[in-house]
Chain length 357, copies 2
Amino acid sequence: MVQTQNSVIIALDAMGGDNAPDAVMHAAELVLQKQTGVSFLIFGNQSKLEPYLQQLPNLREHSTIMHTDSTVSADEKVSSALRQGKNSSMQLAINAVKEGKAHSVVSGGNTGALMAMSKLGFRMLPGIDRPAILSRIPTIRGRSALLDCGANVDCTAEHLFQFAIMGDAYARAVMDVEKPLIGILNVGSEELKGSDVVKQAAEMIRSSSVPLNFYGFVEGTDILSGTVDVVITDGFTGNVALKTMEGTAKMLSHNLRSALERNWMSKLGALLLRNSLIKMSRTMDPRYHNGAMMIGLNGVAVKSHGSADKVAFAQAIGNAIALARNGVNQRIIAEMRAYHDFVHKNENTVETSAAPL
Amino acid sequence: MVQTQNSVIIALDAMGGDNAPDAVMHAAELVLQKQTGVSFLIFGNQSKLEPYLQQLPNLREHSTIMHTDSTVSADEKVSSALRQGKNSSMQLAINAVKEGKAHSVVSGGNTGALMAMSKLGFRMLPGIDRPAILSRIPTIRGRSALLDCGANVDCTAEHLFQFAIMGDAYARAVMDVEKPLIGILNVGSEELKGSDVVKQAAEMIRSSSVPLNFYGFVEGTDILSGTVDVVITDGFTGNVALKTMEGTAKMLSHNLRSALERNWMSKLGALLLRNSLIKMSRTMDPRYHNGAMMIGLNGVAVKSHGSADKVAFAQAIGNAIALARNGVNQRIIAEMRAYHDFVHKNENTVETSAAPL
């Protein structure tokens, strides 16, 4: 049966995020209303979670509550979360994936803690040095993937190169793009501009044995125009870019709202535009783009925005299901293997030809 | 007479930018229609510029054309522009300021060339190591200053500290803010997050003798929410942030336009909203925020967006006039002097107390 083959178990950290556990429980129910072959392991305080199962019939049927009292708080330091959070809902949900009891984990909790716990729990994929946070961005043409959105504030060219391979694998596996176009974020598209790191990374991609479809450098304007399918950058710049988009969108909707409410004529106009504006806001609403993948790990962890409501959290769960089903990690492993075979071959050549000192 | 005291001469590179010289000449006329006490030295091809003076009566009266055949092209390499552009309209306009014949220069040409020529021509202000590109950003609360927007891709903590002093002086002198609130762009507002460079820069500002009103770290979302008056960052991140705003705004207006044209009802709604939307777009229209200052130089150079039309270029000229009138550079010099006196005093203390080896 196809359904059985594709059946997916998702581990949920029910206690992470501003609206937990309410948003998490209702989100899981929303997902079950639309998808078959999905079940949940829900980690959190049983006495707080049980009442939801009374109201949510699908969830009652397709989930198991795994009780724990311990949680990681949003502002807890990573070191403290690692020491004191061994029995936290976040850690136990990660363990479930590590132990093969679930296919992927979703949490709306502390980003730093989720990254550190996932890294320790899952370890890196072979050939990958650092995990990255990959976010999907709505563009004029559709969607693109931006990484790293904040896992690594300092990156070498080698890291950026590995991000390119991971982004490529992601776009092929999850975004259904056959030959994803990849760009490196820079201050200008001319080859001479930019930092040494981005120039070296571009050179590594161009001369690599991995057949990446490399566009070259892109600028901030290109992220949302959809010039490329995958935008590569360090975690500092990527995080600033992501949050600048958020801030810009917030300011523009604030201004639009004021414009719609200016006088009776604009209010009437707004009424006529209601359906059309709702459709527009759905395209841009960050809730529908929620759920960043912690990519590069030997296990699938999805981070939901801390402020996610049930609609947004359901989107993050949807991403976790898609990631579990489409084997993005297998693709990364294959691409990295091809790359390392090539590097290894070249290193051997150098060793053989080098004269002894 | 006040008008005579405040009279300002602006050197215009009439040949720089996609719409030059048309946009430049009409922009200058627009400015003259609104302001008194302004005159122009216009550098460019006389046979191309003269015809404009026939149509533009104010400009004819208040400008002098300084002929040159040579121009710097938009895609010319900086090294080539410096070598071959000695008689270019851009270089001659800069020379006019250097020689005291004009108060500030405005160009819509090649950014790299303008920065390099201004740096060589004007030299740095005492105590400042690197110039920065300062852009004004519309925010929910008003306006803020963002620097560096692209002059320096790699920055040390000392550079960021100097940007903070320059941004402070700018906000006091040009934005009329008494105690400008200053933030350093980072990936999170918690003190522990971020790169070593931003952490060190924050420490330098906190422990400095210059009384800066330091907010701490800000994130990408804060740039447009107006959390602070001045946002400090390196030229790589600043450029990406600026262009990401541009891209986001472009996508949102694209989506809004589609929403307004969806069907007859939305078209009618759009008609009713017309005035209100025009007012809104004026707040956000990048044309009204055009004109970035090359700050840190011993002379005032303003860079207009290459694609500026006459309205946008007039805004850049307006900025150049304001900068000439309000003495931002004198403030920077005073603040840097106070800082260096302090550092010097402390260095002496260390020298005295240090035991000989």
